[in-house]
C-alpha cells in the first residue's frame, strides 16, 4: 500500500514539473532595501525560469516595505516575460499583506511602462 502511494507521488511530481524555492531571507538576510539587494533575487529567479514550472518565493514574513527592492526583484520581470506567465509561474509564500499590495501596485506600474516602451519602439 505504502509503495503504491510513493509511486503515485513520484508520478505527480513528474507531471507537475520542477519546483524551485527562492528563499529571500537565505539570499539577502536582513538587507532587503536597495535595488542591489533586489537584483540578487531577480538573478535567482531568472536563472531558474526556463527549467521551472513553479518558482516559490519565500518571504519568511519579513517586513520588506521597499519599492526599490520589490521592483528590482520581481517588477522588472515584466520587461522580459509575459505577465500571465509570471502570475502562473511565481508563488509568493509567507508574504505580508502590505508587501503583496505594494508588489501588485509595482507590477501595474511596470506593465504601463512596458506598454509605453513597446509603443515607442514600434
Amino acid at each position: 500500500m505504502g509503495r503504491e502511494r510513493s509511486f503515485e507521488c513520484e508520478a505527480r511530481m513528474k507531471t507537475e514539473g520542477k519546483k524551485f524555492i527562492v528563499n529571500i531571507k537565505k539570499i539577502c538576510g536582513r538587507n532587503v532595501v536597495t535595488r542591489e539587494d533586489g537584483k540578487k533575487i531577480y538573478d535567482a529567479i531568472t536563472k531558474r525560469w526556463k527549467r521551472a514550472e513553479n518558482i516559490i518565493i519565500d518571504f519568511s514574513n519579513l517586513s520588506i516595505a521597499s519599492v526599490s527592492f520589490l521592483d528590482e526583484a520581481i517588477g522588472h520581470l515584466v520587461f522580459i516575460y509575459p505577465v500571465e506567465q509570471i502570475a502562473r509561474k511565481l508563488t509568493l509564500n509567507r508574504i505580508r499583506k502590505f508587501d503583496r499590495a505594494l508588489l501588485n501596485d509595482i507590477m501595474f506600474s511596470r506593465i504601463r511602462q512596458a506598454k509605453k516602451e513597446k509603443k515607442r519602439a514600434a
Binding site: 519599492v67 521592483d71 509570471i86 502570475a87 501588485n104 511596470r110 504601463r112
Partner: protein, 286 residues
Amino acid sequence: MINIRFPSRLSIDSADEVLKLCKGILETKEDKLCVDLSEVKWTEPVGVTLLAGTIRIAHNKRKEMFISGPEDKKVKKYLSRIGLLKYFGVNGLRLQPRYTSIELRQLTAIDPIYFEGIVELLDSEMRLSGGVKDSIDMSLKELVTNVFDHSKSDVGCLVCAQFIPKRQIIWISAADWGIGILQSLRTRDEYKNLKSDTEAITQAVEEGISSRPGRAGLGLNHIKRFLRVNKGTLTIISGRGRVDFLPTATRTQTINVSHQGTIANMRIHANKEAFYYMKNGEGKIF
C-alpha cells in the same frame, strides 16, 4: 569670530531664511563662527537636519565652530533630546528619555536596523492606523535609498524625526548636501532639457523618472501618493526649487537661496488612512 543668529523658528515654513544663514556659514572666509540659537523658540526636524549638515560640512572645511544655545528651556531640552547639541559637541542637559523625538543620525550607508527601530518606536508610542506603519517604513527607506543612489553627498544623509502623540502628527526630515535633483536628472539624455529645480523636483516624483541607468524611479511617487491619501505633506527643497505636495494640490516656488543638495520633509497623520496603493482598481496579479 562672526556670530550667525538664527531666527525664532527653525521650521519648513522658515526654510528660506534658515538656508540663507546655513549658506552664509559655508561661504564665509571667516575661520571661527558662532551658531547663535539664543532666539530660537520653535524647531522642527528639518531645522535640525539643516543645522547638523551645515556644521558637518563647515567642520570638513576646517572651520572652528561654536554654539550659543537657545535661551528657551523647551527648545534647549528638545535639541538635547534629539541629539543636536551632542552632535555639536556641546553637553546638553541631562534628560530622562522622553520618546517624542527620534535622535539625529548621520547615515553613511543603508541601515535596515535603524529604519526598523524608528518604525517600532513610532508604533509603540502612537496608535498608528492600518498601513501607516508600513507606509512610513517604505517612505523612510525610499528617501534614504534615493540619497545614496543619486546625490553623491559627502556627508551621507541626515535623518531625524519628531512626533506629537496628542495631535497624532509625525514629522520626518532627511537631508543631504549632494548634487541636487536637477543636476542628477540631467546626467541622463532624456532629462537634459530640464530648465529649473522646481521642474526637476516635480518630474522626480512622477512614475518611472530617475537618473539611475535602467528602470527605476518609483519610490518618490509612492511617498507622494501615500501622503496624499493620508492628508499629509511632502516638501522637497533642492537647489532653488521648493515643491510642496499637499493633499489636494502641488505648490511650486523658487526660493531666494540655493540649497546645495536635497531636503525632504514629511508631515504624516498617525491616525489617518494610508492605503494609497491599488486605488485605481487595477486588480491583482499575485
